[in-house]
């Protein structure tokens, strides 16, 4: 149970970053922390107490961790990498255009 709670705590920390920080890059980092908290939760879902790596098939009585989340988290991490690269690129370009990284000053679009 404690793992899940820690995962959720991590998620909340990320959320805090997105909600409170003004700097674009800190917001991005908050976003990444949120993302990774979900990945962590996902990996934990597959966790079994005293489980081993699911390498030997057909062995009875042995506990394996669930391999599926691990595979999927890898995929998700790759996607996360793509989004991070894109959003960091956007932030750099925004800095070029606006001359600031303060999110509260980047508000040409409103209403």
């Amino acid at each position: 149970m404690i793992h899940y709670l820690l995962g959720i705590l991590l998620f909340v920390i990320g959320l805090y970053g997105v909600l409170v920080k003004r700097n674009l890059f800190k917001i991005i980092i908050g976003l990444i922390i949120m993302e990774y908290a979900t990945f962590l939760l996902f990996a934990l879902v597959g966790f079994r107490e005293h489980g081993t790596a699911p390498i030997q098939p057909g062995v009875a009585g042995k506990v394996f961790v669930d391999p599926l989340p691990q595979a999927l988290v890898l995929t998700a991490i790759v996607i996360g990498l793509g989004t991070t690269a894109l959003i960091a690129g956007l932030a750099v370009r925004i800095y070029e255009k606006y001359g600031t990284l303060d999110i509260r000053k980047i508000k040409k679009l409103k209403g």
């Binding site: 959320l15 997105v18 909600l19 999110i103 509260r104 209403g111």
Partner: protein, 604 residues
């Protein structure tokens, strides 16, 4: 069945042809337009003669729809004829004739429809064609586009109400066929809601208060044939057609609903005519009368007794005729002088005699002067209201007084209009427009004369012709109490005129004397010309009315303006919530999440 299909196919196919013709080939477009309207008129006459009654799940022809159908065709043809000359200088002629023909077709469809979905389809399509016809309008693009927008918002928005009403009816009766419905308003509140919704739809089309506010704007900015065709005649026919269907076929009304209708009618008569009195533009003035006359129709139909309904329907027909005629005369004036502003007009009777005579006939008819048609129908409406009193109501006297008072004011405002345009001092037209004013082309005066002739014919032979042939088949034979014999009265009036003429000839009285106005020996310059409108400014200055008028001119009684202000007020508030800062947006997302979670926890 096939007859009905042809009835729709002729105008729609010619309309499509007209719309897709290139804008440049004007003669071809005009030919198609005229052919389409003539074809529609010819075929609708054929149907009128041969198909007395027909019912299927989709279509229906009965006494009521027959004559309305016929008159939609008649007006379509007359307007197309009138447009030949009038619309020459307008751009987008192909669209004009195309949408004109579509309007004819869609009005046929709306009247023929027995299925309510079909009805709302054609009904909504008419709002669209009206919008398009208005946008063709004159040089003042801002005004034209604003008027078109307002019209479609009011008329189209009321179609949404119609959908709601139809949906409720469908829920109550499990049917969409208009002929099989008989819903008593007294039984459920839903039925009452449905009735009010559908009635408001018909008000929006016909132009009764409070849904009338598009008509003056539309009249001011749309090309005059469009105004004469839609708001003045065909929309009246359709709106009142629907109201009649509602009152006679679909619903059985209770007292509260009757009072609702009567109150709307009476208020419409008075308020609109009061607004008409202070207008300075002939088109706007006529438009307010177009609204005011709807009041009589609603009053007549609101009585729910046969004589009142007959009066309402007859008045609808008469109004379409004389109001169409009045708008066409105003169009003739605008065509020749380039303006309809009353302060800049005057003395046109001399230059445009045929227009003037048509105007006088129609103006007397709308004012309810015997023996013209307007008198007979108003008289029937009054009889209906009195009958209401015999049935035991107490409020009938209010409605009756309102109707009669409105009639008097109508006469007053037409005195003003006739004086300002056709009589009075003549401004220097040659200086203003650069050429002499003369009578309009025959293709423009012919429709006016035909309509004026109809005013006379329907008045003099009221009981024998229109009532017997058109109205009674629709509502059943009506016993008319009291006696009004229009033919005899006409003969008497004619005799009176002849006698007067003879006296005039015998006496050789010098009745005319030209003399310059004497103003302390000064020569009267052009600028201090006394116009017809000045006499009526006193009404505006009366103490109570002044505040009401000034509020009305700020559009405080305009349902469209009120709605617009309310919506924009709300929109401004919501818009401020979109501050543009990402952080607050993300906070909104989480608040939304919390709210939904809370709801789920509470509901489960």
């Amino acid at each position: 069945m096939s007859e009905i299909l042809y009835l729709l196919v002729i105008p729609f196919v010619t309309g499509v042809i007209a719309i897709f013709l290139p804008k440049k080939i004007r003669p071809a477009i005009e030919t198609v337009g005229i052919l389409g309207s003539v074809g529609s008129l010819a075929y609708v006459t054929y149907v009128y003669v041969n198909l007395v009654s027909y019912t299927s799940s989709w279509w229906r022809i009965d006494g009521l729809s027959r004559f309305i159908l016929l008159f939609c065709g008649v007006f379509g043809f007359l307007i197309a004829l009138y447009s030949l000359k009038f619309m020459r200088r307008f751009d987008r002629l192909n669209e004009y004739y195309g949408y004109l023909l579509f309007t004819i077709g869609a009005s046929f469809g709306a009247v023929l429809a027995n299925n309510m979905i079909l009805l709302v389809g054609f009904w909504g399509f008419l709002a669209f064609t009206l919008f398009m016809l208005i946008t063709i309008g004159g040089p003042d693009r801002t005004g034209v586009s604003e008027a078109a927008k307002k019209t479609l918002i009011i008329v189209g928005g009321s179609d949404c109400l119609m959908i709601l009403g139809i949906a409720i009816l469908w829920l109550l009766t499990n049917s969409l066929r208009m002929d099989s419905m008989n819903v008593s308003v007294a039984t459920s509140r839903l039925a009452a809601v449905a009735f009010v919704l559908l009635a408001v739809t018909s008000f929006a089309k016909a132009g009764a208060i409070p849904m009338h506010t598009w008509i003056p704007d539309c009249a001011e900015f749309a090309p005059i044939p469009v105004t004469a065709f839609l708001p003045a005649s065909v929309d009246k026919l359709l709106g009142i057609y629907l109201l009649t269907r509602l009152v006679t076929d679909i619903f059985a009304l209770n007292t509260a609903m009757k009072i609702f209708l009567l109150a709307v009618g009476a208020f419409t008569v008075l308020a609109a005519v009061m607004m008409a009195l202070i207008q300075h533009d002939a088109k706007r003035l006529l438009a307010y009368h177009a609204v005011s006359q709807v009041g009589y129709m609603v009053l007549g139909i609101g009585t729910c007794n046969p004589i009142g309904i007959a009066g309402g329907l007859f008045h609808m027909l008469n109004n379409a005729i004389y109001k169409g005629c009045l708008f066409l005369t105003a169009g003739g004036v605008e065509h020749r002088t380039g303006t309809t502003h009353l302060d800049r007009l005057g003395g046109l009777a001399h230059y445009m005699p045929i227009t003037f005579v048509s105007f006088i006939v129609a103006a007397l008819a709308i004012s309810g002067v015997p023996p013209l048609n307007g008198f007979t129908s108003k008289w029937l409406v009054y009889q209906g209201l009195i009958m209401l009193g015999n049935e035991g109501g107490k409020l009938w006297i209010i409605w009756l007084v309102a109707a009669m008072f409105g009639s008097a004011l109508t006469l007053a405002s037409f005195m003003k209009l006739g004086h300002a345009i056709f009589l009075g001092q003549t401004p220097d037209y040659e200086k203003a427009i650069g050429h002499k004013v003369r009578e309009v082309h025959w293709s423009m005066w012919l429709p006016m004369v035909v309509l004026a002739g109809l005013c006379l014919a329907f008045g003099i032979f009221a009981f024998r012709l229109p009532l017997a042939k058109l109205i009674y088949p629709a509502v059943g034979k009506v016993f008319v109490p009291g006696f009004w014999q229009p033919t005899l009265a006409t003969i008497l009036i004619l005799v009176g005129i002849v006698v007067g003429f003879i006296i005039y000839l015998m006496g050789r009285v010098k009745i005319r004397e030209d003399s310059l106005p004497f103003i302390g020996g000064e020569v009267l310059p052009e600028e201090v010309r006394v116009t017809g409108t000045d006499f009526y400014n006193t009404i505006r200055e009366m103490s109570i009315l002044r505040t009401i008028y000034s509020k009305a001119e700020q559009k405080l009684f305009d349902i469209y303006e009120l709605g617009k202000r309310a919506f924009l007020f709300l929109a401004r508030g919501v818009s401020y919530a979109h501050v543009g800062v990402l952080t607050s947006y993300v906070a909104w997302i989480f608040l939304g999440l919390m709210a939904i979670l809370f709801v789920v926890v509470r509901l489960r």
